[in-house]
Every structure is written in C-alpha cells, then in structure tokens.
Symmetry: C2
Subunit: 111 residues, 2 copies
C-alpha cells in the first residue's frame, strides 16, 4: 500500500472476518491469506499481527490451540462465541464507515 496509514483500525476486523470463514487459522497463514486475497495489496506485518492476536485472545474473542506440524510450532486461533458476535458488530461498523467515507469522497451524484 502506498499510504499504510489507512490500514490503521481495520486489522482486527480483517482478522475476525477471516476466522469467521475459516474455522481455525494460525498467524502466518493469516498473513499469507490476506496477501493472496488482496493480490499483494495488503501485507500484514508480524509486528502488527501477533500483538493483535494476543489482544483478541485476552479479550476472549479468540481461543488458541497449539499444534506441532512438520516439527514446527503453530498456534491455531478460532472464534469464541463472543468473538463471533463481535465479528458481526465490527463488520457492520466497518461497512458503515466505508459508506460514510463514500459520501465524502465520491463525486456528488446530485447535479
């Protein structure tokens, strides 16, 4: 992204949304998924991702399950019930915010 400032505030919602679609995911997988879905447009950094996951877990929105795959550690995260509810809320907030932005930046349709 050219202006990565725009990114601020939406990371949590993106994580939750992905988890609502994938049952369980681990951190590295999330970074790769976002990169793939956005064709490289959005690259989540580890310094942003891991603290976010820890926070979501601390808030009770995510549960963790540690696994060892190919002799490597993985931490699988999945939505709790509370997390599922919050995902719905945060998604509608984000959609509302996008709609608000549109009214500001889009060329007026009323001439």
């Amino acid at each position: 992204m050219a202006n990565s400032n725009l990114y601020k505030g939406s990371l949590t919602t993106i994580i939750l949304k992905l988890l609502s679609e994938h049952d369980k995911m681990y951190g590295y997988e999330i970074t790769q998924k976002v990169k793939a879905l956005t064709k490289g447009e959005l690259q989540i950094t580890e310094g942003a991702l891991y603290p976010s996951l820890h926070k979501l877990e601390a808030e009770g929105l995510l549960d963790v399950e540690v696994a060892k795959v190919d002799n490597r550690l993985r931490k699988y995260y999945k939505l709790t019930e509370k997390g599922t509810t919050e995902t719905v809320n945060k998604l509608s907030e984000l959609e509302q915010y996008i709609a608000t932005l549109q009214t500001l930046i889009n060329p007026k349709l009323s001439y």
Copy 2:
C-alpha cells in the same frame, strides 16, 4: 461512530478532498461540513483537526489566510499546487484501499 479507530488515517484525505471542492475553508467550517455531509456520523474533533491543518500547511499542501469576520478570527485554508496534486494521489489511495477492504469483507460473489 462506534469504532473511531477506523477513522485513523483518513482525516488528511478528507480535509484535502473538501478543500478541492470549496476553494477555501476555515477549520470550524470543515468540522461542520463533515458533520452535515455525514449526517452526524463523522464528527471531527478539534484536537485532531487543527494539528492536521498545521501539518498540511508545514508540508506545503495548504496556504493560510487570516481574516476577521464578525470580530472573530478565521483562518482560511486553501490548496497549493502541490496540495492539489497530493489530493489526487491520496484520493486514489483511499479508493484503492476501500476496494481492497471490500475484497476482504464482502461475501464472495463466486459460488
């Protein structure tokens, strides 16, 4: 707004866009305009606005002109040439970012 975190990063672009449509505006006017356009959804706080305006001025994107109206001080801001160019850039970045977000949060259209 419920989640004002979403707001982060887009204030500068909003200010520039408004100024690209209004030739010159003063700070308080910007807050009222945004409030009206978004039907109260987005309320720019003074603590965010004024430092932003000062920064944009310091970066050479805005020019200032002080005026006294009804015995009250007003600082009119207008886009410089550089500011006009930057407005175009920032707007396309914001639009691109919204499009990127859409691909992440929108229900897949491919079933």
